[in-house]
Symmetry: C2
Subunit: 303 residues, 2 copies
């Protein structure tokens, strides 16, 4: 039992270390407010800094630990994935999409600034993600970076995150089957979570086919669990805890795991997915403990 | 005189060859409509294919000729720059920005489809640009591609195109000095035109410092001339010729070269910039003839 408490404490320390480090990394990789146009840079910083659970950066670092990834490349990968995630939130919150006023406990960008600024903040953050990930590290890592850029661009695009968002929009008010709901989330949320894991891994030494397959087998249930828990929280938590508008999916008549499966079935599914994720990591042994613990975090989180 | 007519005909042939080739290249690098989500892919193709003067791809190919660039890398660079350009038009036309109904003679994406689709089409085209440019060519070109990706991402972002757009939005109804107007356009239009030239050049063999400086000295006046002529056309041509709404800048109370300098001074400036661009190319001799002719095209175009 003491060992368990120590392990939990070590994980919390590690998590807080990564989260705090991410603030500095994002700060360093975002244009300064002294650069023109100042207001756009202020708005980019307003939305990207000081908020968020940084789940994707945590996955990048946890996967990177497995493959002896160099620190600078990991930092660039984590910042790039987080910038893509943040830009997608800014655009999703806009009036023509989900029309949301609250995000991470703060007014959304189009509310705090204005709509054109929100559009440009998202566009500029996406470009910045690719600028950061293509930044010069060391010539020996060029092929690695190129592979990571390709992974991230595909995860962000029309057969990844943007595609999932398009399916989500088209599904409002429709009755989806569980398979259709899964496909939507595999693109909308899953593609970028998977990219975070693979980018962390690709930052390091060459992956074998078996290792890559194990990471895919981990990322699949993790991605779904993330969304199932999101739906559970949207149905059960309040806005103050979530830092965004709760009960939004039901109000918007969006299909969710809770609306299709019910609450207790959804909770059982999240547990099953966590076990699947843990199993996929077995071949890595204790080296994969951070990924193992992140599966716990994703299922047990309260916001 | 006959030699001049032959040269013009050769340039027209070359231009049409590149433009026709770009349709095929873009077609190949855009997701098929058979891929899910089909409607998003339809909308991406609707806006990216069969339209536009392809000025940026022409610059990519013309600069590539100077440095013996491999065909596949040039095609990827040209497609990527054009996708960034097209996405920026889709977002600029949206109701919260310029609210424009006509583009390249067709209804804009948010009019033909809807606003959320226009937002996602732009987002997905930006991601696709980076996916195409990071696609695996040959391991020997990895460092080149990485440099090109970095150039493109910086040109597209908050200190490039998006930044220029932000300054443009902030300047509506304001009196700008000529220097302020120039700075806005150097970012808004100039950054991506410059990137097109440099990407074409970087696709090929290593640039010397002198060569890079000459290309910068060419891209600067070319970018400004492009915008000066845009302003002249907006003030003098009709919507049918332009394929977009004419007289929009004056109606929107936007500062332009014509509103600051007047029409004949603007025309004189365009001529001066063309001469500056031609002078910058002198050291390359006849090898730079396509870039030379593109400067003519940019100043003499009627749409």
């Amino acid at each position: 039992m003491n060992a368990r408490i120590e392990a939990d404490a070590a994980f919390t320390d590690w998590m807080q270390h990564v989260q705090a480090g991410m603030e500095g990394t994002l700060d360093a990789y975002l244009p300064a407010v002294t650069e023109i146009p100042a207001r756009l840079h202020q708005a980019m910083r307003y939305t990207a800094l000081d908020g968020g659970k940084r789940v994707r950066p945590l996955l990048v670092y946890a996967a990177g630990e497995l493959f002896e990834a160099p620190e600078e490349l990991l930092g660039r990968a984590a910042a790039a994935v987080e910038m893509i995630h943040v830009y997608s939130l800014v655009h999703d919150d806009m009036p023509c999409m989900d029309d949301d006023a609250l995000r991470r406990g703060k007014p959304t960008v189009h509310v705090r600034y204005d709509e054109p600024t929100a559009l440009l903040v998202g566009d500029a953050l996406q470009a910045q993600a690719f600028a950061v990930l293509s930044g010069n590290v060391e010539e020996q890592y060029a092929a690695r970076q190129l592979k990571m850029l390709h992974l991230l661009a595909q995860a962000a695009g029309s057969t990844g995150m943007c595609g999932g968002q398009a399916i989500d929009l088209a599904s409002v008010g429709m009755t989806l089957s569980l398979a259709e709901l899964e496909q939507m989330h595999r693109l909308k949320t899953g593609a970028l979570l998977r990219a975070a894991i693979l980018l962390g891994a690709c930052s390091g030494k060459h992956l074998t086919v078996v290792e890559q397959a194990a990471l895919e087998a981990y990322s699949c249930p993790i991605s779904l669990a993330f969304q199932v828990v999101d739906d559970i929280l949207d149905a059960t938590a309040d806005s103050a805890t979530l830092g965004k508008t709760a009960g939004k999916d039901a109000a918007d008549n969006k299909p969710t795991y809770v609306s299709i499966l019910g609450l207790s079935e959804s909770q059982a599914l999240a547990e099953k997915l966590r076990n699947d994720a843990h199993k996929a990591l077995e071949q890595f042994g204790n080296k994969a403990r951070r990924l193992h613990e992140l599966a716990d975090l994703i299922v047990q989180r309260k916001a």
